[in-house]
């Protein structure tokens, strides 16, 4: 996801009430299906940083007979920071560069076959889109799954459209790159 | 003047670039206008005569003012089916034309520009028809009549100019919806707007009625031996009432037939036809009303004719028998012409309804709805509402014939009961002329255009 901030997502999960590290990781993976799963170590270090910055504090420790668990809770400043972040506009495409375009240009520079690359990339994109569509169209898919799949699908679709227009204009691009 | 020229050029370009339907509309409109001009010119020429003359045609019927005014009224009445026919022609390609003119509005044309262009399109077609008819009539007139009076010339000029002007005006008027909104055509829910042409038709009929009254009022007083004013006025009232009643009756029958059959339909063809009738019962009401009137008048007339020729053959009169038979024949010819025009209107209307729906029809055929089912639905659409209407009007006509026979103390001419049957058959044939067009409409090529 774009400019994903683990700090703020954990703060957001804490907004519903105090929670411990393992529980936060489980809820994150549930709430954001299809996102890269959080490593437990990452949750732990992020929570420590939140405490250091005064955005969260330790509620207490308990063990419930199992391993020792530290409960965390958001501070008032943490709540303020969360609402600031949630309302903040994400910078729309701050850097116009991407891997697909870089590969096409490199293929032209090195005398490779950019058309073949684009075609193969297109097939891979379609395959991924079919997977995501099957996921969201499955009976009983919850809305969170549908929406997160939609997000990825729209981005893949944008890539695809960019690839088809680029494929159609490769000759001109090749001439331009070679001339420079 | 410059604006007019620009509009004229645009109207011409639009017509030239449009498909066959548009040319059909132009040709049919010109034909209708020619017929209207012809009838009106004949009426005017006769109306300009004062007192007694010797006219070499029509066995002396045109010699005396009394019978002459009858002929004039007959000619004017013939304008009614012609107007109905013109109304039907206006529907040919109406959807495409609406779309085109709405496109003009979207492109920034002002309402008045669109009106002018539409008026020019219709007006030019009418001008063509009126010019042809006028030239023919004048040539014919000059052979019959050595020196037509100034009044006759004025009348002829008036008619020749009035037909295209009225055509143009009605063309502009019928466009209210499109002119009001550039998107007028995008989505139509409920009955399609057939009201414009309907109102124009009624206005035209009224005009004819007033003209007929005037004619009778101005030519008849010369014949002081007959009562005047009262009877023609009553006649006009009856004709108008019967006409309006016929339109209402045929619309109502169509609606009722649709409603009753839509619920009970067992076959796909009946269901489609019934629902189409229920959806827009008024679309064919004008033509069907004309069929109704022609049936009543035709049946009644044949009855009267039977009785009268019987009387003429068996008794002696001051005038030669040909004087009466010619009168009867002329009336018969007028009714036959009216019937022919009505049938053409019916055929044109059916063809138009097909042309408008051709993309949908092609989609139906693509989905596997057999062509025969679509054809049957098309015929049923005409056959279903006409059956009760023709039956009723046939009964009315037979009643007139029977009443006249009883009045004259002659045998009742039962043969006239066959007239409604013949009319019904002829109507079905007229509707069936569209079946080849249906075949063409179902080509998958139609699927390619939105």
């Amino acid at each position: 996801m774009l400019g994903m901030s683990t700090r703020h997502i954990l703060l957001g999960l804490l907004a519903t009430g105090p929670s411990h590290g393992y529980d936060l990781k489980r809820r994150h993976d549930e709430r954001f299906p299809q996102a890269r799963p959080l490593a437990y170590g990452q949750v732990y270090t992020t929570l420590q940083r939140l405490v250091r910055d005064g955005l969260a504090e330790i509620e207490g420790t308990g063990s419930d007979g199992g391993p020792e668990r530290t409960m965390y809770r958001a501070t008032d400043e943490g709540t303020r920071e969360l609402s600031r972040w949630a309302g903040e506009i994400a910078a729309p495409a701050p850097f116009v560069a991407n891997e697909l375009f870089a590969k096409v240009v490199v293929a032209i520079l090195s005398g490779g076959d950019p058309a073949a690359y684009l075609s193969a990339q297109r097939a891979a994109h379609m395959e991924r889109m079919r997977e995501l569509t099957a996921l969201k169209a499955a009976k009983g898919a919850d809305l969170a799954t549908v929406l997160s799949a939609d997000y990825a699908l729209n981005h893949l679709d944008a890539d695809l459209r960019w690839m088809s227009t680029t494929a159609a204009r490769l000759t001109t691009l090749t001439a331009e790159v070679d001339a420079a | 003047m410059k604006a007019l020229r620009a509009d004229l050029r645009l109207a011409w370009e639009l017509t030239r670039g449009s498909d066959r339907g548009e040319w059909w509309r132009v040709a049919l409109t010109a034909t209708g206008a020619a017929l209207a001009t012809g009838f009106a010119l004949a009426a005017v020429a006769l109306a300009s005569l004062r007192g007694s003359y010797r006219v070499s045609v029509a066995a002396g019927l045109l010699d005396e003012p009394g019978t002459r005014s009858g002929v004039i009224v007959g000619l004017l009445l013939l304008l009614v089916p012609v107007l109905g026919f013109l109304g039907q022609c206006a529907r040919v390609g109406a959807v495409h034309r609406d779309r085109r003119l709405a496109g003009l509005r979207l492109a920034g044309a002002t309402p008045w520009q669109v009106r002018r262009i539409a008026a020019l399109e219709t007006g030019l077609a009418c001008l063509l028809g009126s010019a042809v008819a006028t030239v023919c009539t004048v040539l014919l007139l000059l052979r019959q009549w050595d020196r037509p009076t100034a009044l006759a010339w004025v009348g002829i000029t008036l008619v020749a100019v009035a037909v295209p002007v009225l055509g143009a005006a009605s063309g502009a008027l019928a466009l209210r919806r499109v002119v009001a909104s550039p998107l007028g055509w995008v989505r139509r829910v409920g009955p399609r707007g057939g009201r414009g042409p309907g109102l124009l038709f009624l206005a035209g009929v009224l005009l004819v009625g007033v003209l007929a009254l005037l004619t009778v009022g101005t030519t008849s007083p010369a014949a002081s031996n007959r009562p005047n004013g009262g009877p023609p006025l009553q006649l006009m009232g009856v004709v108008l009432a019967v006409g309006a009643g016929a339109v209402w009756l045929s619309g109502a029958t169509a609606k009722a037939t649709g409603r009753i059959l839509a619920v009970r339909a067992r076959s796909a063809a009946t269901l489609i036809a019934a629902e189409r009738l229920r959806d827009d019962p008024w679309s064919a009401a004008r033509t069907h009303a004309a069929v109704l009137l022609v049936t009543v008048v035709g049946t009644g007339f044949l009855g009267i004719r039977q009785v009268m020729s019987d009387v003429v053959r068996t008794q002696r009169f001051s005038a030669p028998a040909s004087y009466y038979t010619t009168g009867l024949d002329l009336t018969g010819a007028a009714i036959a012409i009216a019937f022919a025009i009505t049938l053409s209107g019916l055929a044109v209307g059916t063809a138009e309804s097909l042309a408008t729906r051709r993309r949908g029809l092609a989609a139906q055929a693509a989905a596997g709805v057999p062509r025969t089912v679509l054809g049957r639905a098309l015929l049923l659409e005409t056959a279903l509402p006409l059956a009760p209407a023709v039956l009723l009007s046939g009964l009315g006509g037979t009643a007139i014939g029977t009443w006249y026979a009883l009045l004259a103390g002659r045998p009742v001419p039962w043969a006239i009961t066959l007239v409604p049957v013949a009319v019904y058959a002829a109507c079905l044939l007229a509707a069936a002329t569209s079946l080849p067009l249906l075949r063409r409409s179902l080509r998958p090529g139609e699927l390619r255009y939105a």
């Binding site: 097939a123 379609m126 079919r130 | 796909a268 489609i272 629902e275 989609a363 989905a367 057999p370």
Partner: protein, 228 residues
């Protein structure tokens, strides 16, 4: 693993509209129960390919075989019966009769097949229910939203239990959410009943509902970069 014989197969199709060639040697196979997307730019011959496969248009050259029968050998009457009973079609719009209610539109194919009116309407109602438009059953197509009309069209295409559904840009006139509902409904029903679907679209997100994709370019199937 050898694949089973395809249910519907076209080979070397060519077709011209007047002097404009639409297809130049297109070949495609559709297997039973498979959802196949045919994609390509405007004018690449997608719709013409569908028309040929569904027996709506006869190709100039090449042949279409359905279930072991060559469509070219069948008379028009038989083709139209085939389209009515074993195929279903959904277009972008226009396939519903504007004067009929949603219920009667869906009942129409059954009525044509000789089912009586009451039974047809009952079955049609069940299909409208499946597509979530039962509440609109007494509306005419013009009174429904685009999405509702398309779901009604799907119900009409599927009501006879066809083996193949041909869908030509079924979501072309819809917003993305309505399109999603239409596609989900189509895919679920097709999977449940084992109906094969030939889906024409220019939209990759719609094509992604299919099991497999065939790309048309200039009237022929374009080789895919990677064969799946």
């Amino acid at each position: 693993m050898s694949r089973p014989v395809p249910l519907l197969s076209a080979s070397g199709l060519t077709k011209a509209h007047g002097r404009t060639p639409a297809l130049r040697g297109a070949s495609v196979d559709l297997h039973a129960g498979e959802i196949l997307a045919v994609t390509g730019a405007s004018g690449s011959g997608k719709s013409t390919l569908l028309h040929c496969l569904a027996g709506i248009v006869r190709p100039d050259e090449g042949s279409v075989t359905y279930d072991g029968r060559r469509l070219a050998d069948l008379p028009e009457k038989r083709l139209s019966e085939l389209r009515r009973t074993e195929f279903g079609v959904v277009f972008q719009f226009g396939q519903l009769i504007p004067e009929l209610t949603a219920l009667d539109n869906v009942a129409l194919p059954l009525l044509l097949a000789g089912t009586d009116r009451a039974r047809s309407r009952t079955l049609a109602g069940e299909w409208l229910e499946r597509f979530g438009v039962r509440g609109q059953q007494d509306l005419r197509p013009g009174e429904m939203s685009g999405g509702q009309a398309q779901r009604t069209a799907l119900a009409r295409a599927l009501v006879t239990g066809p083996r193949v559904v041909f869908a030509d840009e079924p979501t072309g006139a819809l917003d993305s959410l309505s399109g999603e509902q239409v596609m989900t409904a189509l895919v679920h029903t097709a999977r449940e009943s084992g109906t094969a679907v030939l889906l024409i679209t220019h939209d990759a997100q719609v094509a992604a509902y299919a099991d497999r994709e065939v790309q048309l370019r200039d009237g022929a199937v374009a080789p895919l970069g990677v064969t799946a």
